[in-house]
């Protein structure tokens, strides 16, 4: 059984979802790459921010 940490799971999910979003939502390869990177940063960034918010609420 593959048992990743929560953060590894976030990174894997973000990588694959961002790849598909980038390719399907933009027309040219440079814009696909930039949009994919943008989605990846938003996925991972929002997970980190929400994690800190939940940590602070739980204290």
């Amino acid at each position: 059984m593959f048992t990743p940490s929560h953060f590894t799971a976030v990174l894997l999910f973000s990588l694959f979802a961002s790849t598909v979003f980038g390719i399907t939502q933009r027309e040219t390869p440079p814009r696909m790459f930039r949009y994919g990177l943008y989605c990846f940063v938003l996925f991972v960034g929002s997970a980190i921010v929400l994690s800190w918010v939940m940590f602070l609420i739980a204290r």
């Binding site: 059984m1 593959f2 048992t3 990743p4 799971a9 894997l12 999910f13 990588l15 694959f16 979802a17 790849t19 598909v20 979003f21 390719i23 399907t24 027309e27």
Partner: protein, 135 residues
């Protein structure tokens, strides 16, 4: 025959085919819709992403939805069906049939559902390229 002429003939042949073929092929096999339209790089990246996400979901002991008893199961089943032949192959091989109550298994179930939804997006993208809405 020059390379440009060969490409033009191949593109004309692809355009003469059934308009929904890339959509159906892309749904059944991840990336196949783009391969039919000779978008090799895009198709390969889509196939790798979707197949890896589906396989990782199964490796995390995620569950493949098989019943439609309530609304959440129906939605999960619809998401799983988006994976096309991957879902059918998983069911035939008896994968994802056990329901584990662990956090990682729950993530795995989500990975499988999202892989199906991403595959639907990819198949629709192939259809848009086929109809000329996207280059």
């Amino acid at each position: 025959m020059a390379e440009a002429e060969k490409r033009a003939v191949a593109q004309k042949g692809a355009q003469d085919s059934f308009v929904f073929l890339p959509l159906i092929a892309g749904w059944l096999v991840p990336g196949a819709g783009h391969f039919l339209l000779r978008k090799w790089g895009r198709g390969a990246l889509l196939a790798i992403s979707i197949v890896c996400m589906f396989a990782l979901g199964l490796a995390m002991r995620g569950r493949l939805y098989a019943n439609a008893h309530d609304i959440l199961e129906i939605l999960g089943l619809l998401g799983d069906l988006g994976s096309g032949l991957l879902y059918i192959a998983g069911r035939v091989m008896g994968l994802g049939s056990e329901s584990l109550q662990t956090t990682v298994a729950d993530w795995g179930t989500r990975f499988i559902v999202v892989a199906g939804l991403l595959n639907i997006i990819a198949a629709v993208d192939a259809h848009n390229i086929r109809t000329g809405r996207k280059s």
